[in-house]
Amino acid sequence: MSTKGTHIPDWLQVPFAGITPAPSQKGQDLFPTGNWRAIRPVYRDKMPPCNNACGTNEKIQGYLDLVKRGKYLDAYALIKEDMPFPSVTGRVCYHPCEQACNRGKYDEAISIRAVERFLGDLGQALPKDVVKPGKPNGKKVVVVGSGPAGHSAAYQLARLGYAVTILEKSPKAGGLNRGGIPDWVLPQNVLDREIERLVELGITIKTNTEVGKDVSWDELRKNYDAVVLAVGLINPNSIRAEGEDTAGVHYGLPFLRDIGMGTSKVKLGPRVAVIGGGNTAIDCAREAYRQGAQEVTMITVEGNASEMPCVPEDLHDMVEEGVELKHGLACTAILGTGKVEALQLHPAKFSGAINASPITVNKDAKPERFAVDNVIIAVGQHGALKWLPDEFKNDKGGIKADRFGRLGSTNVFAAGDVVQVGQGQPLMVVNAVGDGKRTAFNVDTVLRGEPLQERMVAIDVITDLARMNMTYFPKFPRVQQAMLAPASRRKTQDEVIQAFSEEQAIEEANRCFSCGTCNACDNCYLVCPEPCIIRYDRSNGLYKILVDYCKGCRVCIEECPTGCLEGVPELDFDTGVVRMDTAFAITQGLHGRQAEELRNLPDRPAKDIG
């Protein structure tokens, strides 16, 4: 090769053969190979399906990633952005996130709830919580009801700087977390600690204070800048059967509530029947054993267990504890003189496709007489809203609010079960928490005098495993939480499901794919042939592609395990590298300059270009 006729800059004047000087980045600047590229790799985080499915959109992928790296406190702080009490949901949540988890399509879903509980318990042990109240803004908000929705709304409002008062009619705060969910799922001391945390945030909780009795609707509206009604559904539904008022008949909600509040006077006989097939019925049946029953039978209209509107794990655990199931039956009368002696059961089924639809009872069939000593009715509940003006009530036994949770154009909002009932989504703690959170933000928007707006973020939920690279993930079984043996459970209020150890939490967090979100695995950085992917700190999402050099081979896109890299046709970009006729230039930086000049074309008079 000869250099004759070629202009070589002074700094490149070196002998051709033999050892050349260590060439510099400078020399390579001559060849901005980025102009070969037709497709540009770009980093774009997507929404993991778990975060999307969570009722309050916890940043699940984020905290699992922090747990993987042993950063528990950061993980706890991250979860607390959306969830005031991970110690509670870590125990009671029906975990829609796990149902949506991508790993479920591969081997087994991540045990997200167990990791959440690990973090929640860690937070409980902290002498001081990581969350601080916001700078006081001088405005007062009252929250009616201290269940999950009220708790969450009060928590977020306090963080925003509002002076928050919670009014609660029961002697203890907590709503259904206390007076519904049994102690063997959620121990009282765990809930107590979370209520303490609210008080530490400066929130005033007034128990034994009922709106409609101790405080009137008008007082609420007069004394506060805004009101959040999170009053739940506290009245049990009836089955409209003869003899429902016989002694020995109990309703699920008050039955559990009184046990939870420590005021229960119920004494169960040896044979107990539970009517209903949902989660509350399951809790009642399991609680009945713990209250001394010998034989517990659950009676459902559903034709078989798989149709029951409940969490399958809880159903399994109930059957393990010895509860019998009778399906396809409706209780048409409660028999007995002075006291329950038996139930009259007729074959029945739901007349519609869903089990909330009216029941068709076959009254012509010969009824079955089922001997019992007590019966617990658990077929849903409705709101107690006598004190509320009729214009704000709906026909589902709940409150009528707009999509922001607002009651007309008032400064009154509502959140939780009382709004969500009959809206087609399952009633559960995390949905109430999410609703409370969103409502708090809406209250804030209104009190700041800004218009309420739907959050219009376009979300790309990554549910297609083909968009990620599964070769990086060995199959690995889900870490199981230990459980008390079924026989011993029946006699105790001890927690059935046991906590993860630190090692278990890490092992399980390690299974997370980190769907659609960079977790700083360094793979793109390692496999690029140029290499033109750089990072100064190894941290999530801090990778950069030198577009002057990237040839668009897409190896990085293919090899990103999490699927957060994607290819965008170069023509979609109006800035960056300009394609050239030549592949190289002998003067340093020519391409760069040329590109810059071309980019500035419209700003300069035509004759100046040369």
Binding site: T20, K68, Y525, V527, P529
Partner: protein, 354 residues
Amino acid sequence: MPAIEVQRQMLPMLGSPNQGARFYNPELPATEPFVPGHRTCAGCGPSIQYRMTSKAAGDNTILVGPTGCMYVANSSYLCTPYNVPWAHTQIGSSGSFTAGVAAAYEAMIRKGKWKGTFPNIICEAGDGSASDIGLASVSGALYRNHDCLIICYDNEQYANTGIQASSRTPYGGMTTFSPPGPKVPEAKTLFPKDLARMMAAGHPHCYVATASVGYPIDLMNKVRKALNHKGAAFMMIYTPCQKGFVYETPRSIDLGRLVVESGLYPIWEWDPEKREFDYSFRPASMRPVSEYLKLQGRFGHLHAEHIATLQKFANQQWKMMNVAIPEALIKAADAKNLVDMASAEAAAAVAQTV
């Protein structure tokens, strides 16, 4: 004057990339001896290998490059992507040149003319250079046990001159020197030279290993082991070439995994102390060769019987590595159970965990 001891670098091993089920690369060396702006094709396998090898070796390194893509495409117009001293050698003299560099540094250190630790001296030869044209010089350097690492970056052909068959080109591989036709429908009829085993058998005092760009951490650790080994070391590294193999560029790493999973490129180490092969490396799954072949245009002409021949070859390699061969792979070695490459999309994917 007393001779000065040669201080060696002794590079630490990189930890396992996976902790339990997690995928997370270990902390990688910060050094970048290989920089962008070079003119290899997009997705070039040898370049990926160069990036990994040089990152593992670090800045105290001298690179030697006999003629081939990694020289011609990279060092034209008086600039190269090597941020460490680098020399081009004639294609046949890679071994002798490298031996000279190593001997020179040893002597200079001994005589006190060079201060500092002994540099990593790495020769990056193509397969044409290492297995054909420069075989003698590579063998000489290994035999005389110069303290250096000679890598054959194996793209299974002479790529730089426009894709000609080398002795590493696989059976059935189409190149400009081995085109398929009515007389020779399988294209290349000979099986590849078993270069790495030749080197282990012929120079048993050397550290010898095979690796693939599909397993970066394994590759980088073997490079470090080879550099830490006192004396000569040889590595043969699978590096797909999208131009010659005819595949979509994003597949470069994927092919590096598939070639191992299909048994066509056994990954092993030769331990010079024990004088034995270590076959303990296991890919995540075992696949029929057709899954590897069907991604590449260079195999597009193969008939069922040729694929069966390649499967038999792969099964022999598994046997050599003491791996029990699953029923599906035994079946796949019978042409009756296979279809021609033209309809290979129909070939059922059989994946089995080892």
